[in-house]
Symmetry: C2
Subunit: 340 residues, 2 copies
């Protein structure tokens, strides 16, 4: 089962490009940490002994504008550190082949100080020649699994995820274990590929959400409402699982150590100091979720049921507000790595 | 006036991807010459003294499938010449930002033996870091002007192109001179950019059509028919000029010599040995023209008049057949260059 559904394309009302504020605030929160990591760990003279070309990639970049902000930040920090006017930056924007690269390219900043290119393909596999990347950035992307582990769909398996659409809220530990095992497999492929592509002493920064996805329960319960009203067959809910796993520092450390090619320079959970994120209202939260998940829902349930599920979830905004006040604190996992 | 209108997108009946047979045959005709040029001129040990990464670009690649055929050919010839399993190929597919990169990426050959990326932007300006390209390929693209010289639209200029849509058929030499001057300016920018981007002793192969565009007269006369029937204002025809100039070997030689950074290894006019091209019927010829020009026509005249103009031109297929038999012989300009 392929799960390559891009963020909502274009720039319409529920598009990702107009509904990625939370992701942006998460990135803003990571800016200082990224700057520190670069200042402390990047040694451009050792990774570019006889060249002036610095190659950056943003893995899972989606369609902007967040990717442009992140990349500009990396470029600026490197420029400020080295004050070398001869340095030239080439940026490789990567995402699945189904990503809307046309929108991405048409919204590239006109005043950018780098050469831009797009690289289609899954970051779970090889994307670049060996030893050709000096800095890899990946934000809000590694938590997407390459596929749903089949046990979740197997009525005979202890990991069968009946009546739910995610491990959040599942009482059976086999379910979260199946998600975790898939994440580990995916990340093994991710690190194997990056180990080939990143130059010795090159860097990689990973940023991943660590909270908020429990809210999938509300979407799940909207779907179950539709089942109870006879509008939707329950087997369609049972056979649907959102392919997102929020890794813990331990999950990542385990894969990095197994891979053996990277040293962890920094790993921490951080809480963005952002009024927008702290005080995000339930409506914005759900619309944001919709921009990210709608393609996935439409593919499985069709557009009518998907529309109905999101509309009904917005009607639960009081309940969701209460849940957010009691349980939700925006949190992200930040990780700075160096290729040995 | 911007003239960046891409080939017809997608894969519908008049799309470029389904109507680029003539361009393909032209490329097939150039295959042997490209092979010879690479075998004779490419010295990979001198351009990659301490690296195994060979960077290729296809400038003005459009949306495939021709670009994939050309690139695969270049890769194969280089592989056959060097038998070096460590060689890695990275290909940069370039075209205007309005090109349909989504279609291009989704039709990339699955079994390709190179890393693929897309680079949006005009090849009349810089696209890549300095000294980062080893082989540049550009087919059926340099004949597109970056803009229409404004004298053609100036009713007070001797180059005013009244009643025609191209220099083909114009009795006034000022008109073709204005086209030629614009081509020269564009190519100066093209060669200045490539001189920076291509490594010393790197190669560039240019292939450009040298015949067939006189047929624009038939489209022009269809438009004038619409004027005579009162369906179209004549000033709209007078203000429209197809931004295509077919360069002669002398045109190119002049710009290359002025630039001074490239040596011409081969320049010749060739006649593809192809039944398809020799025996192409008038209908195929016009549909092919439509796939290339429709966007430009719709932008200026609107879709109704554009549709009418192409439909009426197809009705002239007997006249066009007769013209083709008497005057048309597929011919292309082939040019192999080496960066000094």
């Amino acid at each position: 089962m392929s799960t390559f559904f891009p963020m909502n394309n274009g720039d319409a009302v529920y598009s990702y490009s107009r509904n990625s504020q939370i992701q942006r605030e998460i990135l803003d929160g990571a800016k200082e940490m990224m700057k520190e990591a670069i200042i402390k760990n990047l040694d451009i003279k050792s990774i570019l002994p006889s060249s002036n070309k610095f190659h950056i990639t943003d893995l899972g970049c989606s369609i902007g504008p967040n990717t442009f902000t992140s990349i500009q930040h990396v470029v600026q920090v490197v420029k400020d550190k080295y004050h070398d006017n001869n340095l030239e930056f080439q940026v490789f924007f990567n995402d699945h082949v189904t990503n809307d690269f046309n929108t991405l390219f048409r919204s590239l900043p006109v005043d950018r100080s780098y050469y831009a290119s797009g690289v289609p393909g899954s970051f779970h596999g090889r994307l670049f020649p060996s030893r050709s990347i000096h800095f890899a950035h990946c934000s809000c992307a590694i938590h997407w699994l390459s596929k749903i582990p089949k046990e979740l769909l197997d009525t005979n398996s202890p990991a069968w995820n009946k009546g739910l659409i995610h491990y959040a809220g599942a009482s059976n530990v086999e379910i979260v274990n199946a998600y975790a095992a898939q994440f580990e497999k995916d990340m093994e492929m991710f690190f194997n590929a990056r180990a080939e592509e990143i130059v010795p002493r090159g860097m990689m920064v990973l940023i991943s959400p660590f909270s908020g996805w429990d809210s999938l329960n509300f979407l799940g319960s909207s779907l179950m409402d539709l089942v109870n009203e006879g509008m939707l067959d329950e087997s369609l809910v049972d056979s649907f699982n959102v392919p997102i796993y929020l890794p813990s520092p331990d999950d990542i450390t385990k894969v990095v150590e197994k891979n053996g090619c990277f040293s962890i320079e920094n790993i921490e959970l951080t809480y963005p100091q952002s009024k927008l994120v702290d005080e995000v209202d339930a409506n914005t939260f759900i619309i944001n979720l919709r921009a990210v998940l709608e393609g996935l829902f439409i593919n499985h349930f069709g557009s009518k049921i998907a529309e109905e599920a999101f509309t009904r979830t917005i009607l639960k905004n009081k309940e969701i507000s209460a849940w957010m006040k009691a349980n939700y604190k925006a949190c992200q996992l930040f990780l700075a790595l160096k290729r040995k």
